[in-house]
């Protein structure tokens, strides 16, 4: 009895003391609006969600993308290198993804080829030649254009570039180069805006030193500014390429969607993204074609990762120098 009383006496005292030290219990730490723990929970939870999102995307797409090789027993090598895409053929359907991989690569490189000179030229103009004009007018306009939705670029390709191609080069007008032009125009503002930023980041002392030894404006730009901005200019171009590579609907509207390897840039063609957009909607989950499309999606994801790795690599090398 006495012991029991002692215990009951001691308990409130110790709990009130612990309250003085700890101030709050576990529960109220989470409900108090100003408590550090609650804030941390919120913040760390959100940061964790970012990791969860990336992991989930990679994991789910990998699992689903490997189904066609593991469950349906397609040969990985013939899938990658095969050139015949006839999923609907009644006997012996064939899944060769190479035309799409080739198409994606071709569109990406042609788009970069078209966009790079114009975009870099514009960036130099904005950051070196007409600084005031560039900052006041060109920069905001380009930033607005970055935000124009890609379908709009597709629509413009459809209503201007396709008829133009049809008139001057024959055929239907839906072909590889039309797709590349549309995507090239689409990535112009992105590349130009990042390139201009990287040129502006070159310290002025370099330019002054160059002018001081008698260099002309162009010699300064070509020999001093561009090498100094080098790696970030390359990053701008590759970022543009990765955007071109992942673009789906704008390309799909103008490229013609023929699953064969184009023999010239005036042939209709198809890319990884366009075949997914076109076919994914009317396949049933678990069918062979559906699995093959997921495998194409996986290839798309992997190549996007390659772009990310290249950008990081260039960025690191730029930092070291």
């Amino acid at each position: 009895m006495k012991i029991g009383k002692m215990v009951t006496d001691a308990a409130p005292a110790s709990s009130s003391r612990s309250k003085l030290i700890n101030e709050k219990g576990f529960f109220s730490r989470l409900t108090d609006r100003t408590s550090e723990s609650r804030g941390k929970l919120l913040i760390y939870g959100s940061a964790l969600l970012m990791i969860v999102a990336v992991t989930a995307i990679t994991l789910f797409l990998t699992v689903q993308g490997l189904r066609s090789f593991v469950v349906d027993r397609l040969n990985f090598w013939t899938f990658i290198t095969g050139t015949e895409w006839f999923p609907d053929r009644a006997e012996n359907p064939s899944f060769g993804a190479f035309p799409f991989i080739f198409g994606s690569m071709a569109v990406t490189f042609l788009a970069a080829l078209i966009a790079t000179p114009i975009a870099i030229g514009t960036a130099i103009f904005m950051a070196e030649i007409a600084k005031k004009w560039g900052a006041k007018i060109m920069q905001p306009v380009i930033e607005i254009l970055v935000g124009i939705p890609s379908v709009v670029y597709g629509l413009i390709g459809l209503s201007i570039i396709v008829p133009f191609m049809r008139q001057h080069f024959g055929g239907t007008g839906f072909n590889l180069i039309t797709g590349a032009i549309v995507v090239g125009i689409m990535i112009l503002p992105t590349v130009a805006s990042i390139a201009a930023d990287s040129i502006r980041a070159v310290p002025d002392s370099l330019r002054q030193a160059s002018y001081a030894i008698g260099a002309t404006k162009w010699q300064t730009i070509w020999r001093v500014v561009i090498p100094a901005a080098g790696s970030s200019l390359l990053t701008a171009i590759i970022l543009g390429m990765s955007r071109a590579f992942g673009e789906a609907l704008a390309v799909q509207m103008v490229i013609g969607n023929v699953g064969k390897i184009p023999t010239s840039i005036l042939d209709p063609s198809a890319t990884l993204t366009t075949i997914i957009t076109l076919s994914m909607g009317h396949t049933t989950t678990g069918s062979l074609l559906n699995d093959a499309l997921w495998s194409l999606g996986l290839i798309l994801l992997l190549i996007s990762y390659v772009f990310i790795v290249i950008i990081r690599f260039i960025g690191k090398r730029g930092e070291k120098r």
Binding site: S46, A47, L49, I57, I144, P189, F307, I308
Partner: protein, 294 residues
């Protein structure tokens, strides 16, 4: 050829590049607006789309676009801002932090169609949300998070150290300092970034194709009960947005006035994006003036 000559030639080439850029972009915007504005009318904005006949409008699509945008923002902004605060305030240099930074970078550069496929797999099929506003908003959240995170982090980094030190010196906890001092101070720049990202979300199409669907049920704009299937507020109905509409009309539309509908929708889309941009810029300017007292 002497260096002066080279200089002159090279500079003219650069100016020509810039002129070409300006010409391409201006003519493009001009084309869309000129072609499109003529087909925008009150009738076009307030009629439902018709699958076969001419004279259909974009009422439902326009509503869906804004509705998906609002839901996306409700999901993205809290998570994105908290993630940004983590990177700006709590992240200690180390493996975890650099991993999270890589994750943000990866999310930002994933093709939107990959995000759409992921959304289809997880939200549409696995969680069983079907093609719906909610699935679409979740997919767009994945797509938009990295932007908000970056905007928030930049906003916090731009603040002066004294504000934080002042808060901590008064004995506030770190979180309380963030909540009552730093966040309000960084709010203007974060808000500008959020509005700009809203323009991007508004125009996104590839991620929505497989998540929000290609059709809209007959919406009854007199019925605001979120649980009924044809209510505009229903989260679990399919919802074709404006940008998806432009694509689907052009690839599979059989109405006779496809061109008019596509041009009109594109003009509406572009005008909305422009308005978002101008609004963000104006807001930034006004707030900046207020704070700097000029």
């Amino acid at each position: 050829m002497n260096s002066k000559m080279t200089n002159r030639i090279a500079l003219s080439v650069i100016i020509a590049c810039a002129a070409a850029m300006a010409a391409i972009l201006v003519s493009m915007l001009g084309y869309i607006l000129v072609q499109g504005v003529s087909s925008i009318s009150w009738h076009f904005l307030t009629t439902s789309a018709s699958p076969f006949l001419a004279g259909g409008g974009i009422k439902d699509q326009l509503w869906n676009s804004f509705y998906v945008l609002v839901i996306t923002m409700l999901l993205t902004v809290p998570i994105g801002v908290c993630g940004g605060i983590y990177l700006a305030e709590y992240a200690k240099p180390g493996r975890l932090t650099s991993f999270i930074r890589t994750c943000v970078e990866v999310l930002a550069s994933l093709p939107s169609i990959v995000v759409g496929m992921f959304g289809m797999l997880v939200f549409v099929n696995y969680f069983g949300f079907k093609y719906s506003v909610f699935s679409g908003a979740l997919a767009l959240t994945v797509f938009n998070l990295p932007v908000i995170v970056r905007v928030t982090e930049d906003g916090f980094h731009a603040l002066s150290r004294h504000q934080k030190e002042g808060g901590l010196a008064l004995g506030l906890t770190h979180w309380h300092t963030i909540k009552t001092i730093l966040l309000p101070a960084a709010f203007p720049s974060i808000l500008t970034g959020i509005i700009l990202s809203a323009g991007r979300v508004f125009g996104e199409s590839a991620a929505l194709l497989f998540t929000a669907g290609l059709s809209t049920p007959d919406l009854d704009f007199g019925n605001w009960n979120p649980a009924s299937p044809n209510s505009p507020l229903n989260l679990f109905r399919s919802a074709e947005t404006l940008s998806v509409h432009i694509w689907s009309v052009n690839t599979g539309g059989i109405m006779p006035d496809v061109q008019t509908i596509a041009n009109g929708s594109a003009a509406v889309l572009v005008i909305c994006v422009l308005l978002f941009n101008l609004f963000a810029r104006m807001l930034g300017k006004v707030i900046n003036q207020k704070f700097s007292g000029k």
